[in-house]
């Protein structure tokens, strides 16, 4: 005699479970800042991709005097070379965002791999990798940036490498912690008991579990990467041939924009960087909040339940 429990929900109700779109919409409703952040981001991404096609002026096109004041033709004024700042901003968006993404992806790939291997295998491997991570963590970022830039030259590729070098350690530690948790779960031990290879377990069980959080943290990392890129360029260690926002600020400073009173050469790129970082942060933290249940603290709120009147007794049928 075989015995059957009744299913928890009837099959037809299961098929009607909320579609991806509905879950996304309910997520946005619970985290309005994510929606705002997302909109801002999409704006910048749009500008980065399509901007150069409708930027009013060229990247190196001198259209007026040095540090020309903002006017109707040039709403953000002109920089030290007489180039329209609004156009520069648009071109710069592409560079900044690409470098930010690429740097974060490098950090995620390197840090993620090390974190997974470290967290999964534990023991001596873990120790060795964490000691290496510690060394990198302790290296002063500024010194590292200067050394890399001086030895390998100033280029976009090197900026991306620097960002990866500096940030992979954070990723590695975060991922390692999560992998350690997943590794102890019963279904992973079951797979081991079955004789599954490590590769199989990592790719089929561990990575799918940490992927969402990994993605959320990569988004947050992009914000950091953009900030770092701006800093690198501002210090003059960036690629001199490419106009990123950091470069714009650096140029403005080195060409004495301040003594000219040309705030419009400094403020727009600075505000743009701040906005993008803030937007990434809003989306990233909202994603992290919803994916990591331990971050939820609303259940610690005061206990104010509602009093209701007694329901009417069921009339006998």
């Amino acid at each position: 005699m075989s015995f059957v429990d009744a299913p928890m929900t009837p099959l037809d109700e299961v098929r009607k479970s909320p579609s991806r779109l509905r879950s996304l919409l309910s997520f946005l409703r619970k985290h309005p800042q994510a929606a705002i952040g997302f909109v801002i981001l999409m704006l910048f991404v749009f500008v980065a991709i399509f901007g150069p096609y409708f930027a009013p002026y060229g990247e190196r096109e001198q259209v007026g005097p040095i540090f020309g004041t903002p006017s109707s033709a040039h709403p953000l004024g002109l920089d030290d070379g007489g180039i329209d700042i609004l156009s520069l901003l648009i071109y710069g968006a592409r560079v900044t965002l690409i470098v930010g993404f690429a740097g974060a992806v490098v950090a995620m790939l390197v840090g993620g791999s090390i974190g997974i291997i470290s967290g999964y295998f534990g023991g001596k491997v873990d120790n060795a990798m964490m000691r290496t991570t510690d060394y990198f963590l302790v290296l002063p970022d500024l010194v590292l940036m200067i050394v890399v830039a001086s030895i390998w030259g100033r280029s976009l590729r090197n900026i991306i490498i620097i960002i990866g070098l500096i940030y992979w350690t954070f990723m590695a530690r975060l991922i390692r912690a999560q992998v350690k948790v997943v590794r102890e779960r019963a279904y992973v031990k079951r797979a081991q008991a079955l004789g599954a290879t490590h590769t199989r377990i990592i790719f089929k069980h561990v990575i799918p579990q940490i992927a969402p959080l990994l993605l959320a943290q990569t988004v947050l990392m992009v914000a950091l990467a953009i900030f770092l890129e701006t800093a690198i360029s501002f210090l003059g260690l960036g690629d001199p041939s490419v106009a990123s926002w950091g470069k714009m600020i650096e140029t403005a400073f080195s060409r004495s924009a301040i003594s000219y009173g040309a705030w419009w050469a400094i403020a727009p790129p600075g505000i743009a960087v701040a906005l993008v970082i803030m937007a990434f942060n809003m989306v990233g933290t909202a994603a992290e909040d919803s994916l990591n249940p331990r971050l939820r603290v609303s259940h610690l709120a005061r206990r104010h339940f509602r009093l209701r009147p007694l329901p009417d007794k069921e009339p006998p049928k």
């Binding site: 075989s2 015995f3 059957v4 429990d5 299913p7 928890m8 929900t9 099959l11 299961v14 779960r185 019963a186 279904y187 031990k189 079951r190 797979a191 081991q192 008991a193 079955l194 004789g195 599954a196 290879t197 199989r200 069980h205 799918p208 579990q209």
Partner: protein, 315 residues
């Protein structure tokens, strides 16, 4: 007498615990499981029953002793050598809520063992057959579900199906029902009982003496890394010989409130396996300990009737 499926001889599993201290998780355990036999390994936390199961599955390092599976000594088998054995020896976990990957559908969980062991023919058939053998009929109703859509009892059946799909000969079940509701437990245990009748050997780890009494053919009682008593379930429960078994049986709550029990409540708790008492390891808590119990370490000897054994100096 048929050759036992599993024979464990003087198994010892010690873990280092920093600075010359050793955790005596398992300190000399012997047991056998024959085909079609249901053996319960009973004890409180810290007695080493889970470590014993892990050692048998070769998921824990064996310090000494031998584990023989179907006549072959697997004690020092490497992971590669264990692969074909793992085909036949399956483990069912305690927690139905954590033992299924939440991202895998039921089909994916049950088919995984086949994928790992390279069984390619009739996979879908085998999955259905395993689900139905585990009581999930009709299989179509369950095969595409995610674990969160199933109840605890159903999830445990999926775990069992995943264990059955490779047609094992030996099942190790670690507290298979302790996290399930009472009304559901009998169904799962009944399923294990049927599997036993169809020839599987079952080694069940549990702290629940009542469950062991009802379903097991034989019970091994463990305390601090040793088997202190073992024998036919009926005898161990009704004629316990070892003082620890006697105390354990006496404190199990009875459903009939009028059945007066004289609970023999031992004081204190099981000592830390790092500090195993000298002589008989139970002597500090034993209600009838004598002076010599501090010095001599008793071994399992036949007592009572019917193949019962106990490790006590005073019997």
């Amino acid at each position: 007498m048929t050759e036992p499926l599993l024979k464990v001889d003087d198994l010892v599993v010690h873990y280092p615990a920093g600075r010359k201290r050793v955790v005596h998780a398992v300190d000399g355990v012997s047991l056998t499981v024959a085909p079609g036999e249901f053996v319960a390994l009973v004890g409180e936390s810290g007695c080493g029953k889970t470590t014993t199961a892990q050692a048998i599955m070769r998921m824990a390092k064996v310090t000494a002793g031998t584990i023989t599976y179907r006549g072959r000594d697997i004690t020092t088998f490497s992971q590669r050598q264990m692969r074909p054995i793992r085909h036949e020896m399956q483990l069912i976990f305690q927690d139905p809520y954590e033992s299924l990957d939440p991202r895998f559908r039921v089909r994916d969980t049950v088919i995984e063992p086949l994928q790992i062991h390279g069984v390619t023919d009739n996979r879908e058939e085998r999955v259905r057959a395993a689900l139905e053998r585990a009581g999930l009929t009709p299989a179509e109703l369950y095969i595409d579900r995610y674990p969160h859509e199933l109840s605890g009892g159903q999830r445990q059946r999926v775990s069992i199906a995943a264990s059955l799909v490779l047609e094992p000969t030996l099942l190790l079940a670690d507290e298979p029902v302790s996290m399930l509701d009472v009304s559901v437990r009998a169904g799962i245990l009944g399923l294990l009982d049927e599997l036993r009748k169809s020839g599987l050997g079952i080694l069940m780890i549990t702290h629940d003496l009542s469950t062991a009494a009802h379903y097991a053919d034989r019970i091994c009682v463990m305390y601090l890394g040793r088997v202190v008593e073992e024998g036919p379930a009926h005898e161990v429960i009704r004629n316990p010989q070892h003082p620890y078994t006697k105390a354990l049986v006496s404190v199990v709550p009875q459903p009939d409130p009028d059945r007066a029990t004289k609970p023999q409540i031992l004081q204190g708790e099981t000592p830390n396996p790092v500090n195993v008492p000298s002589g008989c390891r139970f002597h500090p808590r034993c209600p009838v300990a004598e002076a010599r119990c501090q010095n001599e370490d008793p071994q399992l000897r036949p007592v009572g009737n019917d193949g019962q054994q106990a490790a006590c100096l005073l019997i």
